[in-house]
């Protein structure tokens, strides 16, 4: 069903809870997607540009975790 056909939640509580759930889902998706991209050989600048954030921001948020997970990180874009 297209998003436009879904009525917005009537209850404020439902709408606020949807915000919380979407943030959580987006965080989980970001962690997984960044990890997959880096494993596939993407560079930090590419991932940052694709996410629409700065390289520093994406590095700060994910570098330690990926290094600990043994992901081989590339320094430069191809």
């Amino acid at each position: 069903m297209p998003v436009s056909e879904i009525p917005p939640p009537q209850e404020p509580g439902d709408a606020l809870a949807a915000v919380v759930a979407l943030r959580r889902l987006a965080d989980q998706l970001e962690d997984a997607a960044v990890e997959e991209a880096m494993r596939a050989g993407w560079s930090w600048p590419q991932v940052a540009e694709a996410l629409g954030v700065t390289r520093q921001a994406v590095h700060r948020k994910h570098a330690k975790r990926l290094i600990a997970a043994g992901v081989k990180l590339r320094r430069r874009s191809p």
């Binding site: 069903m1 998003v3 879904i6 917005p8 939640p9 509580g13 439902d14 709408a15 606020l16 809870a17 949807a18 919380v20 759930a21 979407l22 959580r24 889902l25 965080d27 989980q28 998706l29 962690d31 997984a32 960044v34 990890e35 997959e36 330690k64 975790r65 990926l66 600990a68 997970a69 992901v71």
Partner: protein, 156 residues
């Protein structure tokens, strides 16, 4: 260590582990509730179990709340989200709802030395809005009745 301090320590440690399992950067009220439900042979755990809320049931209720909240805006969490790695040394910090639950727990005792394990559950159940009360409502649990039962434990 007083019994309450040992209990609180166990709740905070287990709450942190629950937050990690949840891939959450913060310990929220729902992680504390899961921790309370995991403390076997404690009065608050028995009160939850009597209401059908064993540890696994709390988890199921929270998952259901997540899916229900997403579905309200047409999003399904049913797609296979790949599990990301977790940073081993990273410790989740106390989140806003976790802090609120603890503040309410401490505020529900007249004096610090009166604090008992049930106060933690009381603090969590005091929340009228947010993830925990929504999850309980979706699971068909009467939060007010559960709170009343937890308060009885304190006065026993």
């Amino acid at each position: 260590m007083r019994p309450f301090d040992a209990y609180l320590h166990a709740i905070l440690t287990e709450g942190e582990a629950e937050a990690r399992r949840d891939r959450s950067a913060t310990i929220e009220a729902q992680h504390l509730l899961l921790a309370v439900a995991a403390q076997e042979d404690t009065a608050p755990q028995r009160v939850l179990a009597e209401a059908g809320l064993r540890h696994q049931a709390v988890r199921v209720a929270l998952d259901r709340e997540f899916e229900h909240s997403l579905s309200a805006v047409g999003v399904s969490a049913a797609f296979g989200l790949p599990r990301s790695s977790v940073l081993p040394g990273r410790r989740p910090a106390m989140g806003a709802t976790g802090r609120l639950a603890l503040e309410r727990s401490f505020a529900s005792a007249a004096r610090k030395k009166d604090l008992r394990p049930a106060h933690v559950l009381v603090g969590i159940l005091h929340a009228e809005v947010g993830t925990v009360p929504r999850a309980l409502a979706l699971a068909g649990v009467d939060r007010a009745a559960l709170l009343a039962r937890a308060l009885e434990l304190i006065s026993e």
